[in-house]
Amino acid sequence: MSPRSTLLAQSARPVYLLLLTAALWILLRGHNEPGGGFIGGLVAVAGSSLLAITLGTHSARRWQPLPPLSLAMLGVGLALASGLVGPVTGLPFLTHVWTDSGLSTVMLFDLGVFCAVWGALTGYVYALLEEG
């Protein structure tokens, strides 16, 4: 890696956390305002990429809850699982279900999209950066 700017290196982690918070916020507001799992996931990817470029992929991996591939697969699994709630209650696959308090399988599905995008794209980014 080329010599890094101290300022960038010092601010990378706070900015990463900020971006991650923003990503989660975008994910959660997505159902009613512009946002959602895809965009939130991309913002999280931007955060992870920042960490990976400034501090190396090693720290970026450490600050992610799961290894990229596992995260991506978890995302697909979550989306799949959210769709299976319908058939259990006698509805077709991927029919979403809401509770009275406003919780729904839609959130689970969108969280799955978020994780799939975050995991898969960071997987590509790390692999490309580690290649040199």
Partner: protein
């Protein structure tokens, strides 16, 4: 080989045997309590007539008993056989998946569900045959098994769909019930031939027989389970299930009898060419499968009984014999019969199993194989088969006797081979399973009888079957007619095995021509074709790709335009906030123009990023904030990551690309074409039905005000699921490629 056993850390997975055991006990309990058939039906994809319809009758119950019963012992055996295999967890997982697929395949009534489980068994078989994936012959054997059985599976799908369209029923039971009214349908022969293609590939019938011996690269528990007792019987099972409807057709009868006979005889001849005990057994399995196909093809009710008895007997002697071969391999390190002698002293229990199983295979008294042989000869006498088929049967049975002799007598008797050092008997987990299975195949008084189940299964194939006696009768005439001749001929084969082997081995033309060689030829041709078209289309020059894509797009657009009577209706209205559109347009044009002129790679990247940002700005003002948002994020990540990866490839100047008049013309035509298309679309009256529906239903039906997000996660959730699955799995495929780049060996 034996000696100090170092068990690698980790579970032995013995407890997994409880899963098939519980299924088996449930089945047994159900058979006692509940009269057959059992039915279950749940909607799945009603619009395509696909429902989760399951129906268990006598034939299904027999198959289920084999799958779960033998499965239980195979799991016990595997836990002993694979005690030294560090990757055994993977094998057990796939084995379990296979068992469940098998359970689904033999109980499915809906043809699509049957097809899905059928292909799942092929897929798991592929993984199990290729388990030793570092050996190239295991890989090619796995690929061969997959290509042949899955190719046949596709034919099966076509055949079953055609059958469903002819009869109007999507269930096997419905097809069998409705078939008599449609026997004159002109499409029926094609449907049946396609179904038979699927069944023949699965059950290794000539000319698709060669994959089964090669599949012996799989670990022995797999060979005993998939490639002798269960999966390869799936084709027989399907033919037997459809037999009640079609056995009056000459096409059906002739195809089955001819293919079965040829397979049985040819596999018997090829068995004599083998020296590897496991491959000898595999050849004789193919021979037995041929006999079963022949029996299914016979039109009389007794043949139905013969099918199920022989199928049952074969599973009960062949699975233990494979385990015997596995035990010998485990203890001595070889399966080549020339190096194996006198093992009875060192491995008395294995020898005992081999003798009992050999007894049944040779069709000698005391064994269930004797009963099966009796029923089979009665069926053939009743059907008045051609003399040629009768001679073939004698030959095939004699080969069985000889193979039984090789597996049970030759390797265990005689002076022990001393060159190898001490040989020890294997552990109880590898002895108890074959012993238990082989004892079930004996006509001992303490063994519980399976006769009611066999009769119930036979009545599915031959509804006209009356009461039948399945106990052994030891009249002198029976002994002489059914057994005497074949045992004598078999004995002759056994004694002259080595001489016959040398003769056959010298016939090299058998290797050069024939189905297996044809398969290799086709495979090489396919690879050649792929290489040619890859060189033509995937040459790696980006300009070439662009040229081809743009030219194709233009060509198709022009073709569509000329063949329609639409008139170009250009309209020009200034959108609200037109200045913003103009600014975005200027950004895009500036970025594209700069990317053309600049030579520094980093600068080109930045300039092309400008195109992306310009498009995002355009989306923002065109009322698509979600799209703009996404475009901004994608563009940022792409530019930043690409910029930090670029230095690895050298920061040098990009090579100057000379201008080609042709390219310039193509680019201009593509640009103009796109412009005209968009301008035309803008002039058309907009069809807003979909947008209106989504807009009206987003909040009341899906509780969301952001229509775009509601479409993504709810209305079109299945599409999204597919998309994220593609994204995630693409990483799985890309990681090894990127790692290859890292090592500098692009593969």
């Amino acid at each position: 080989m034996s000696g100090a056993h170092e068990h690698p850390a980790g579970p032995t997975w013995l407890w997994l045997a409880a899963i098939p055991l519980v299924l088996f006990l449930l089945l047994a309990w159900g058979l006692v309590r509940q009269p057959l058939p059992w039915q279950f039906d749940a909607a799945w994809i009603p619009s395509l007539s696909v429902s989760l319809a399951f129906r268990i009758d006598g034939l299904s119950a027999l198959m289920l008993a084999l799958v779960t019963g033998i499965g239980t012992w195979v799991f016990v055996y595997a836990s002993g056989y694979l005690a030294h295999e560090p990757r055994r967890g993977r094998l057990f997982a796939v084995l379990l998946l296979f068992m469940l697929a098998m359970v689904g395949a033999v109980s499915a009534d809906n043809v699509i569900v049957l097809f899905l489980f059928w292909e799942l068994t092929s897929l798991t078989s592929f993984l199990l045959v290729g388990f030793q994936h570092r050996r190239s012959h295991a890989r090619s054997a796995a690929r061969q098994a997959l290509l042949i059985t899955m190719g046949g599976g596709l034919a099966l799908l076509g055949g079953l769909t055609l059958l469903a369209q002819i009869t109007g029923s999507w269930t096997l039971s419905g097809i069998v019930a409705a078939a008599p009214a449609h026997l004159a349908d002109a499409r029926l022969p094609y449907a049946l031939l396609l179904v038979l293609l699927g069944a023949f590939t699965k059950s290794a019938q000539f000319p698709f027989h060669f994959w089964l011996p090669n599949a012996m690269s799989a670990p022995t528990p797999v060979s005993a389970y998939l490639h002798s007792a269960t999966m390869v019987k799936l084709g027989i099972y399907l033919m037997a299930r459809l037999d009640a409807a079609f056995n009056d057709l000459l096409l059906w009868e002739a195809t089955l009898v001819a293919t079965g006979t040829v397979t049985a005889v040819w596999a018997g001849v090829l068995a004599l060419r083998e020296r590897d005990l496991k491959r000898i057994l595999a050849r004789s399995t193919v021979s037995a499968l041929g006999t079963l196909t022949l029996l299914v093809g016979l039109p009389n009710p007794g043949a139905g009984l013969a099918v199920v008895t022989f199928l049952f007997a074969h599973a009960l002697y062949k699975a233990p014999l494979f385990m015997v071969a596995g035990n010998i391999d485990h203890a001595t390190g070889t399966r080549i019969i020339d190096h194996l002698m006198g093992l009875r002293r060192a491995m008395p229990w294995t020898a005992a199993v081999a003798v009992l199983a050999g007894l049944s295979m040779a069709g000698l008294p005391l064994s269930f194989g004797f009963v099966a042989k009796d029923v089979m000869s009665a069926a053939k006498a009743e059907a008045e088969v051609l003399a040629l088929v009768s001679y073939a049967t004698v030959f095939v049975n004699a080969i069985s006797v000889a193979v039984a002799g090789v597996a049970a007598v030759r390797v265990f008797w005689g002076p022990p081979e001393t060159a190898r050092g001490p040989v020890h008997e294997v552990s109880w987990r590898m002895l108890l399973p074959p012993l238990a299975i082989v004892l079930l195949g004996m006509e001992f008084d303490f063994v519980p009888t399976a006769d009611p189940l066999l009769l119930a299964a036979a009545r599915v194939i031959a509804p006209g079957l009356g009461a039948a006696d399945l106990s052994a009768s030891y009249g002198l005439d029976v002994l002489l007619s059914a057994t005497g001749l074949t045992v004598l001929v078999g004995l002759a084969f056994f004694l002259s095995w080595d001489r016959l082997h040398q003769r056959l081995q010298a016939m090299h033309w058998l290797d050069r021509y024939g189905p297996a060689a044809t398969y290799e030829l086709l495979l090489r041709g396919l690879a050649l074709l792929a290489a040619r078209q890859t060189r033509l289309l995937q040459h790696g020059r980006l300009t070439g790709y662009l040229r081809l894509a743009l030219a194709a797009l233009l060509g198709m657009g022009a073709f569509a335009w000329m063949n329609s009577d639409t008139r170009l209706s250009l309209s020009w209205t200034w959108p609200p906030q037109a200045w913003a559109w103009l600014v975005a347009g200027v950004l895009i044009v500036a970025g594209a123009g700069a990317a053309l002129r600049l030579r520094d790679r980093l600068a080109v990247l930045m300039a092309s990023g400008l195109v992306g940002y310009g498009s995002a700005a355009l989306f923002l003002f065109a009322g698509a904030p979600d799209l703009a948002f996404t475009q901004f994020a994608v563009e940022t990540v792409l530019v930043v990551v690409a910029a930090s990866v670029l230095p690895h490839y050298g920061t040098g100047q990009a090579r100057a690309v000379p201008w080609h008049a042709g390219d310039l013309l193509l680019a201009a035509a593509a640009g103009l074409g796109t412009f005209l298309l968009l301008a035309h679309l803008d002039g058309l009256p907009p069809d807003t039905r979909l947008a209106d529906w989504f807009g009206a239903n987003s909040l009341p039906a899906a509780h969301g005000r952001n229509v775009v997000n509601v479409i993504i996660v709810d209305f079109r959730a299945l599409d999204t699921l597919g998309e994220i699955a593609v994204v995630a799995f693409s990483l799985l495929a890309a990681l090894p490629l990127l790692a290859g780049l890292k090592r500098g060996t692009p593969t």
